[in-house]
């Protein structure tokens, strides 16, 4: 088990270095860091001195190491667009994105998984078939379209909920939160549903198909032959066996949520990291793009590691075999 985790850890570092390399190439070769720092009238010599001072004439591997070292301290240079430090710009917007993604994840998990369990246990019931049909539509609708439809219905026509912004937030010093004001909470509803809906349908379909598969296994039949109650069979035996693939997908989807927040934040003018990223793509603001890329890379790596650790908690076969094989055919 220890070896397995160590291997995973090394893989994660490799992935991070690869992502860092892409970010570095962007930062160094696509944009020109000097142009962002000086005006039009700066002479060629002054530029050259600055280059030397910033280490831009060093050999590429040294520059890469410097870049990584700076990134590790949250230093990503200045934005081309606003000339602010990129690290601070991102940090200011992290709470908005995390709170939105958190609510969307809770929504997807606590609605999607029960719906999947239900449709898996009673596949022929009409409500299950309704869920299935709705989920197919949910998978086919682009996120932004769902957001627009929700805004049209609940904000424009019914005037029940706000259609943009975070509402009033409370500043806790290092974190701004929506959770402490009524308007902040109301502002969270539509964006969370929009962001979570796709993941909800995905989770529901996954849990359903895993449930259907598990219910056909011999150990479920044997559990019935032992006279266990339906409750124990459905939730103790069947559900636990669907957990391994569900954890994988749910984990990966958590990362996808934060990435997909780009779209939702644009629709709802939500002042998060995703909105910042879109603005930086529109203006080719390379330092912000590079920083965002690294941040997302780090996030995905952390999530993947967490998922691997969760496997050990769920599946005893991994605990004793040192994780030689991932189970359930994935």
């Amino acid at each position: 088990m220890f070896v397995f985790i160590l291997k995973r850890l090394l893989q994660s570092v490799a992935v991070l270095l690869a992502v860092g390399f892409v970010a570095f190439s962007l930062f160094r070769y696509v944009g020109d860091p000097i142009n962002a720092m000086v005006g039009q009238d700066t002479s060629a010599e002054e530029r050259e001195t600055l280059r030397e001072k910033l280490g831009l004439n060093d050999p590429a591997p040294i520059q890469f190491l410097t870049f990584i070292a700076n990134a590790a301290q949250g230093k990503f240079g200045l934005s081309y667009r606003t000339s602010e430090p990129v690290g601070r710009m991102i940090l200011e917007r992290v709470p908005a994105t995390l709170e939105l993604s958190f609510c969307a994840a809770i929504f997807a998990l606590f609605v999607g998984v029960p719906m999947g369990v239900y449709t898996g246990l009673y596949p022929r019931h009409w409500t299950s078939q309704l869920f299935q049909a709705v989920s197919l539509i949910g998978v086919s609708l682009p996120t932004f379209l769902i957001g627009i439809v929700l805004i049209l219905i609940f904000a424009v026509w019914l005037k029940l909920l706000p259609s943009f912004g975070r509402g009033e937030t409370v500043d806790l010093g290092w974190w701004t939160t929506n959770f402490l004001t009524w308007s902040g909470l109301k502002a969270l509803i539509l964006p969370s549903i929009t962001l979570g809906l796709f993941q909800l349908t995905l989770l529901m379909r996954l849990v359903r198909s895993e449930m259907l598969e598990v219910m056909r296994t011999d150990y479920i039949k044997f559990a019935r032959a032992r006279g266990l109650t339906n409750r124990a069979i459905n939730f103790g035996h069947a559900l636990k066996n669907t957990l391994v693939p569900v954890i994988t997908v749910a984990g990966l989807q958590l990362g996808a949520l934060i990435a997909f927040a780009i779209v939702t934040e644009t629709v709802f003018a939500w002042p998060g990291v995703g909105q910042l990223f879109i603005q930086s793509v529109q203006f080719a603001d390379i330092p912000v793009m590079a920083a965002y890329l690294l941040l997302i890379g780090l996030l995905f790596v952390v999530i993947n590691l967490t998922v691997d650790l969760l496997y050990f908690a769920v599946d005893p076969r991994l605990r004793s075999q040192g994780g030689a094989a991932r189970v359930a055919g994935h």
């Binding site: 011999d218 150990y219 006279g227 339906n230 124990a232 005893p316």
Partner: protein, 340 residues
């Protein structure tokens, strides 16, 4: 050990019919099957795959897989009818009064729970015991089925046991609430040949000690000959012959059974070659009129082609063959002639 015939039977199956609706019409997979099992008796049920023996077992424990369903007849356990019980009532019978053992010990146990957890869970479902008492009982059972080091093994997970050890755990699970009957469906087929005999011996010993009856479903005539008190031979959804194991093995009355016995190699007896039955069992869609065995039968008469034989008593056994129609006219007479 002969069946004590004066006691009331533990299990009575009367005219059981199991059918499967399919796109091309309804298939009758078990057709008018009747038999009894006495308390403590081991009944072997033998036949080729598709003969309906596993379905009969599943019907008894109330776990026919849809769309299969009981279409007629009745099943009684200790005099109480159980084939028409609501799901929840039948659930209380399963595990408590009737235990079950399936073919593959590798897949019968939930891989995510320790064997102790699965034992205790089953015990507490059926018996009013505290967790500590249930654990003690689980431990005793594991010792009884011959798991070495039961005190530590109880907390191990299924994948940490070998196939034979897992089947021992499965037997412990089937026995843990003290059932009167165990339906064992091919309990050794998936195991190594060297382990099969141990498992069968264990099953036989435990059931004798606990006074539990067994319905042993298998296609292995050798296992039946060693273990069973009585044997039922099934063919194409019907019982071809049923009787005390010694009679059926030594003096088979049905041509199909004779064929089956001819195909068992026996130690000590030098035979030129093993006989085999020509042809294959018909599919359920293509069962011929008259006796289902008639296309393969070497002793067939005209009557066998048109009229289906019911079980007829021949000494201690009963066989579904016109040869034994003592009061009647035997296999040679065509039905039209009888009617005319």
């Amino acid at each position: 050990m002969a069946a004590p015939s004066n006691n009331p039977p533990l299990l009575e199956v009367k005219n059981l019919r199991v059918e499967f609706p399919t796109r091309r019409g309804t298939l009758l997979a078990v057709d008018d099957v009747s038999f009894d099992i006495a308390p403590g008796e081991v009944l072997g049920v033998v036949g080729e795959s598709g003969a309906g023996k596993s379905l009969t077992g599943n019907a008894i424990i109330g776990l026919l897989e849809p769309p299969g369903r009981i279409a007629g007849g009745e099943i009684r356990l200790e005099g109480r009818r159980i084939d028409d019980l609501p799901y929840e009532e039948m659930r209380k019978v399963r595990g408590a009064r009737i235990g079950a053992i399936f073919q593959d010990p590798l897949t019968s146990l939930n891989p995510l729970y320790s064997v102790g957890h699965q034992l205790i869970e089953t015990i507490q479902t059926h018996l009013p015991l505290s967790s500590a008492e249930a654990r003690t009982r689980a431990l005793d059972l594991l010792k009884e089925v011959g798991i070495p080091g039961a005190e530590t093994r109880i907390d191990h997970y299924p994948h940490q046991f070998s196939g034979g050890m897992r089947q021992r755990v499965v037997i412990a699970l089937a026995l843990c609430a003290g059932p009167r009957l165990i339906v064992a469906d091919e309990p050794t087929t998936a195991l190594d040949v060297s382990i099969q005999a141990q498992i069968i011996a264990l099953l036989k010993r435990l059931c004798r000690e606990h006074g539990t009856a067994v319905m042993l479903v298998t296609h292995d005539m050798g296992v039946i000959a060693e273990t069973a008190d009585r044997v039922a031979v099934m063919y194409a959804g019907r019982i071809a012959e049923i009787g005390p194991v010694r009679d059926v093995v030594k003096h088979a009355k049905h041509p199909y059974t004779k064929g089956l016995m001819g195909s068992i190699p026996s130690l000590g007896v030098r035979t030129e070659r093993l006989t085999q039955i020509d042809g294959a069992m018909p599919r359920l869609t293509e069962i011929p009129t008259g006796c289902a065995f008639n296309p393969r039968c070497t002793e067939r008469g005209g009557r066998c082609l048109v009229e289906r034989p019911d079980l007829m008593a021949v000494g201690a056994t009963r066989a579904a063959c016109w040869q034994h129609d003592r009061g009647g006219v035997g296999p040679a007479i065509v039905r039209e002639a009888v009617d005319a």
